[in-house]
Symmetry: C2
Subunit: 330 residues, 2 copies
């Protein structure tokens, strides 16, 4: 079926507040290291007060993926809610200048635009505290039907499952996509997120998802299994394609009975793992949108991931395009 | 005379919007490369629209210097005007978490917090377009007298001379400082800025300034001279100490008939010259606040400058502290 948009993402419209911290700060704040925790406006202020020398960059898991796809030249669209404030302006600027259509209007009331405090420890691991703000108010009415129906792939994030309205928006988007004969891709996002919504995720993975992105911990958590190969077999029976990342061990792609092991790219200096999964998804979806083999899709994912972890933050359009151009991929 | 604050800065409260661009973009926007141009709200929007993958970090010339001094452990204060918006929140957060007192309340009306679009070309040069917003409304009433009188050194930037109210605020601050027996330091900021206000700058350099910071181009422009040594002799007759930077040639400090040549620090990779002058001033003033020799003050300036030009943006508290610790300076 023809389409003019390669991938439409539905997710949180977030600005990241990045700061380098030591491990003691993470412990002092009582945050689970390496994970994403949701915080309210008051907690957000108190964590922000503990950070120094911050850097602000657009973020949001699905939004990072979509902006990267846009930078690579894919035809992209994003649906997500921001306020008419300065963080909302930054977010909208950065996603639209990646070439992405962004039909969702800025909310003129409600909470502020979402912010995610990304605390990077000396081991380059990131620990995140997210204030979802108005982004969690995304509801079914915000899902622009024409945009979803027009896209070859609909891409969703597990993160927004924390909000009932957003969950309904996801369900509405999946229904629209499938009715139009499109494929649905989902990122499980975070092991704690999987813990909170395991039954619900299992249900949509089994019933609605065509392409699943997860890391090893998220996949094992989803099925409450210890054995990676057994979990891969399980997921392979439920989705068309599962792309599972394993940090420095690269990724494994499952397609029916096929298993494709993809080695990680060698890197010079690990700076900040923020966006590693988001960029893997971008590279992989770029391959799929261009009808490449699963091995090449996986290699593109690992390459994109290697670019973003060598810099601060999750937006790396220019560097990504340069790395792909060097391989002759764009 | 005793004081509990080492340096109080008066300047613009700005958030930088940093983006990598090619030379054609700078030409297309009609911007003088390497300089700072003032833009209005509409121009600001149109330039912003031409940038991709932006990074937001606190900025402001004097504010960068003061935040760096704070990170080194000096006792610092800052006076400058921001709005009660999200950019104002970022600015206030970053300056206060450097340990700096910031007595100026957020304005509840007027234009938005200042923003500076910092466009970094492949040669690592930065070209700036500044929307001063509410920061230019700084007036004499905003100059907290107790804060100024308590500080050993008052530090001002030429940039704000573009605004009549701010100019009066500077004059008020200089008067307070001198009445309290304090020293006044000024950065000439930018050659175009010197061009616009040459007579006025000459008058305060000759009459009010004790410590002058400038780069070679600004100094030559101030006196409309071609000969560097002659310009150094001229300025040495007017101020107590002149610290003049010459990019990769390091700096020359003039004190009466003394001339101290300071070599630049060797660097690995030049990333972005944003903040080079601001951080030179920080290192130099840190030396002065700790009663070091002029040679050491100059070396500290060159060291601080070398740290900031190897990263994106002008705030580098942690890296600066680490570099100074390595030298045994903190």
């Amino acid at each position: 079926m023809t389409h003019t948009t390669d991938v439409v993402g539905v997710g949180a419209a977030i600005v990241d507040i990045l700061a380098r911290v030591d491990d003691a700060t993470i412990e002092g704040l009582g945050m689970p290291k390496g994970a994403m925790s949701l915080v309210d406006a008051d907690q957000s202020k108190s964590i922000y007060g503990a950070l120094k020398d911050t850097t602000e960059r657009s973020g949001g898991s699905v939004a990072n993926t979509i902006a990267a796809l846009g930078a690579l030249g894919s035809k992209t669209a994003f649906i997500g809610k921001r306020r008419d404030d300065q963080f909302g302006e930054i977010f909208a600027h950065d996603i639209t200048t990646s070439g992405t259509k962004f039909p969702t209007p800025a909310a003129t009331q409600g909470e502020e635009t979402a912010r995610c405090m990304v605390m990077v420890t000396p081991d380059a691991e990131r620990t995140m505290a997210t204030y979802l703000g108005v982004s969690g108010d995304l509801g079914p009415a915000d899902v622009d039907a024409a945009t979803v129906k027009d896209a070859g792939i609909l891409y969703l994030e597990g993160y927004l499952w924390d909000k009932p309205d957003a969950k309904e928006a996801f369900r509405a988007a999946m229904k629209l996509a499938h009715e139009a004969g499109r494929r649905v891709a989902l990122s499980l996002s975070d092991p704690f997120c999987v813990d909170r919504y395991r039954e619900s995720f299992r249900e949509i993975v089994a019933g609605d998802v065509d392409i699943l992105f997860a890391n090893e911990a998220e996949l094992l958590s989803l099925y409450e299994m210890d054995d990676f190969d057994a979990a891969m077999d399980k997921v392979a029976g439920e989705v068309d394609i599962a792309a599972v990342t394993r940090s420095e061990k690269g990724a494994v792609i499952a397609y029916g009975s096929e298993r494709h092991g993809i080695p990680a790219e060698a890197i010079d200096t690990l700076v900040d793992t923020t966006g590693a999964g988001d960029l893997f998804a971008a590279g992989f979806l770029f391959g799929m949108a261009n009808e490449k083999s699963l091995d090449l899709c996986g290699a593109m994912g690992c390459m994109a991931s290697s670019v973003v972890i060598q810099m601060l933050g999750a937006r790396c359009g220019d560097e990504l395009h340069a790395a792909f151009a060097k391989q002759g991929w764009v």
